[in-house]
Symmetry: C3
Subunit: 430 residues, 3 copies
């Protein structure tokens, strides 16, 4: 199955209210339309549903048309307004249809990449939204499939539909090939599942996120996680992204420009590598010294002293007497390296060269000097790379290249972060 | 889809042996039939399958008929006997049919709300049980669908069927709209999956519980977790319920009257709010002083001292030098509040008033004085509430109201726990 | 549904390159063909796909034919070569067909138990592989279904297919009843899901492993986990197997003879029982003294001292003042027992005797003397056994008996590990 959309990856899904109280009801739309570089999302969602008060949504449609007609040509993001919709409410669906019609047949239409449909149910409900988009396209004299369709998965029924997407997308009786993003909506999903937590915090819903990523993978779509409400907790937002990425969900909703910046950067490899030390089940980042050659642990969770015949290591509630070799092995097992973009490019180039020379697998070594409780330990880790390792390592590079191609407005930020030479090599490799 | 049954929530699924050795083989049934208030379950299951020895099951049916005919009118629980059944054994299914027929055509029938079918396979097997219930209803002169049908999900095949329920329930060729509870059976499921744990403890099966809750949500049914064997470990039972609730599985099996009491209470909000402090990955409850205004931590996992220029905080293996503002922020991040029923009603009323006044979102603040290692820290957390937050918060209130409507025998216990005024407001809100 | 294959369990799936550089390109195949006893896997996979360089695969087929024709009769493992295949590449599928044809119509055929098909997609793709095996069987004059078919689940599409296996396997238009193993392939699955982890480590993919085990259970097939790359980390490999077993995935890929030995032994019960103590969320094994009667904890994570009126216990960041009874209860809650093969056989025999005497449930007690920080604590745990407990406990015994029946070359190793008398009783029980 081939991917039908321009973007192969979407890091950020940024929603803006379409109309707010006050003199200039389009204020938030105008502000968002001016974002550039790392401040600008991959997908911008003028949100005529939950982010906008019900009484303001008529005006919201007018604002979308005005602002997008005026600024759309310059906005670096794709533009996908969210309209109202509900699987259990025909009147809401009728309103959603009207919103799509008005926008599709307006001066904003050339800059509209698609629409976001919330609160979908089973695939028959997705087909209804698809058909109404087809009618709106027809009325506006646009070819079927002009607009992409993204859905918010926020019901058990929609989650179940994810398993059947691949077979349904290419049926001749619908135009569901227009599907683009599968976005989780954990707040309403929690309501639909009637789940309760003591503090009212949202459950983690790992199975929902797995099923969304899997559905996206099977149908060549893109999975995006839902909003992270605690907008001041940037560390929590980053942890959520790391967890999502390990599931194949590389995009996330952003509620604020700060979240946009964080979510644009997080899935890209770091600019400098990092050594991690596992202590009591946590991965603790080691601090490089000024030279960048020695990595130190500065906390209290590990104690290491030299003894007459070796070393005494206290960690995880246990005391170990070790000689130099055993110490090195014990510490090596507890460390891991987070490669930088430059490291990944190096490894890929090294493997490509080996493959060209007829080698199917090579060993990649990574060494470091650690300083633990004042004691110096030299460690070295190696890993076999074969074709499969190489292929799996290319995902961050594919993402990097997709960003580089689609977002010239971020070239300066990428060069600032990685250096022009690394950016250049990263666009060539693979 | 509309819900067809009286109860929208079931907290407790309590099984009793139908016949035991000794003079009075109906002893356990009689004892269970007399339970009232928090001791009485939402669903009572005279268990003519695993809880009763095979040789006693004929007598078990007679006991069910006698005890339910005599006490059924007064039992506050719904009554759903479990009969024998097996997807792979026609003779067992024939016996289950006979058990249903005898009970359906007996003086107990008016008090029987439905039957529980264990060991089901795929949906074709569910249809067989449904059809035999339809025949038994016909023979007894009862309309099709008189009896609800609940199933025990204890095979991989039944788990897979959960994804297809929504489409199958309304087919004209069956009466599966009678479906009521989806109950997990982890002991037999573990056998069916051929899973092994070193100690013989049951695996957690989070995916099974997710899929059961999701299937229930998609088809408007009710998900119930299986038995918790270690009947003396009430703390473990409560932790299991907290985990279940975060998945949308608000009911659980109960093997003893003590488990019934615990499971009736646990999904309802607490009577008093509670502050939690996160320490080394655990959430530790803080102890209110006599006034209820100051919450103290009394363990050894945190040390906090004042220094010349601020505070020294030791926690999680690390030492932090903090000024007053940074201390407050660090502690605020590590705390969470568990709202009481009264708190939830307050917040909902506040949001309803704001909405009536035209506001779409408001900030709710919660402040507290903490005493940590003898040092006083004032914290304050706020959270945005919008329509979606409000909707998600209503699940415990919907549950409370369902309990209040369906279980007048628990009114005294609710008033004792929460006070009459809070109970009254909780029945009005939403 | 009945199981169609000789083995009901497969512990080990051992891949060997079919052709390597050097004088004797069949070196690795020859070495693997000579393995016996615990060094020999349950399923041996001459791997003509990823383990063999693309340019060597023609020679690889010739090597498989030579080595299997010569040694096949004596190899204790089942022999299932892996051929090339890809759901998205017809040319790769054509090559896979050629490889199957050559082997099926060769002197090696009588010793070939089946083929392993990697990179499958949806069930239509599985049917293509099945049909080409049917054609190859026909050309070689062999009955349809002679060769088993095992697949590597390494795409979202293949994962989704697992839910439909049960209904598809018995369709008259295919021969998919030949299906045998469902093997996860996490490296390529990670690529297919476009997942990223900071260190490049593979995600855990618990949902994939659950779905594979569930699909196997529903269709009477066997689930096998993918390769564990870090071949020096035997402890990590063992932890992975314990996690897999709790999901019903009792087999695992092995890349080296050391991994084969570990994976053959791990799912079998231990030779001696073990007491575990829970400390800070970890299960720590207690050390028996020379007599085997007293189990001691020797770490620093627990401190226990006698006081004037009882005991002071420090554990998990909290200090408890306890009398003798409370101490015993607290410690009992924190302990668990891992039964040996002999213990399991004892319990099963005890339950069988009780059942023969008309008892449906009995209590099994297990007592021990612990020494914690120099203080002696006597504990005792009991557990109710009923028919369901008994049934669930039989999985390790069923596995043991399957190994004993199918692998006479491992009889000596089993007798060495457990003693001849325990082995004998374990083959009789159940």
């Amino acid at each position: 199955m081939t991917r039908r959309h321009d973007r192969a990856f979407v890091r950020t899904f940024f929603t803006s209210p379409t109309a707010v109280e006050g003199d200039n009801s389009a204020k938030m739309l105008n502000r968002a339309a001016e974002l550039r570089g790392m401040q600008a999302p991959d997908v911008w969602v003028p949100d005529n549903e939950d982010a906008t008060a019900p009484g303001m949504r008529e005006e919201g449609v007018a604002n979308i048309i005005d602002v997008v007609a005026k600024h759309g040509a310059d906005v670096p993001a794709e533009i996908h307004p969210r309209v109202v919709w509900h699987r259990d409410n025909a009147s809401t669906r009728a309103s959603g249809f009207e919103q799509i019609r008005r926008i599709a047949d307006s001066p904003a239409a050339p800059y509209i990449d698609g629409f976001v449909i919330p609160e979908v149910g089973g695939l028959d409900d997705w087909k209804k939204a698809d058909e109404l988009m087809t009618l709106a396209e027809s009325e506006a004299g646009l070819p079927t499939g002009t607009f992409a369709m993204s859905v918010i998965v926020e019901s058990a029924t929609a989650e179940l539909a994810l398993a059947d997407l691949r077979e349904t997308l290419h049926q001749p009786s619908n135009a569901l090939e227009r599907l683009f993003l599968l976005v989780d909506g954990e707040v309403d999903y929690t309501k639909d599942q009637r789940a309760i937590t003591p503090t009212g915090a949202l459950p983690e819903w790992p199975e929902l996120r797995h099923n969304t990523a899997r559905g996206a993978s099977a149908a060549n779509l893109i999975a995006v996680d839902g909003p992270y409400d605690d907008i001041r907790d940037m560390e929590g937002y980053r942890e959520r992204m790391v967890d999502n990425q390990a599931r194949g969900q590389l995009g996330i909703w952003a509620l604020t420009p700060s979240q946009v910046v964080a979510a644009n950067k997080e899935p890209l490899p770091p600019a400098t590598g990092e050594w991690l030390l596992e202590l009591d089940g946590d991965s603790v980042s080691l601090t490089p010294d000024e030279s960048g050659d020695v990595y130190a642990y500065e906390g209290d969770r590990l104690s290491l002293t030299t003894t007459d015949d070796g070393y005494q290591l206290q960690v995880g509630g246990e005391t170990h007497q070790l000689d130099a070799t055993a110490l090195r092995e014990t510490i090596t097992e507890r460390t891991a390296y987070v490669p930088s973009l430059s490291d990944i490019v190096d490894s890929m180039e090294e493997f490509e060269a080996a493959k060209a020379a007829g080698q199917g697998a090579i060993s990649m070594e990574r060494a470091a000097t650690l300083e633990l409780d004042g004691v110096t330990v030299e460690i070295s880790k190696d890993r076999m790379w074969d074709e499969a390792t190489y292929q799996a390592a290319t995902t961050p590079i594919d993402l990097f290249q997709d960003v580089h191609d689609a977002r010239p407005d971020q070239h300066d930020a990428l060069a600032d972060r990685y250096g022009a030479e690394v950016v250049d090599r990263a666009t060539q490799v693979g």
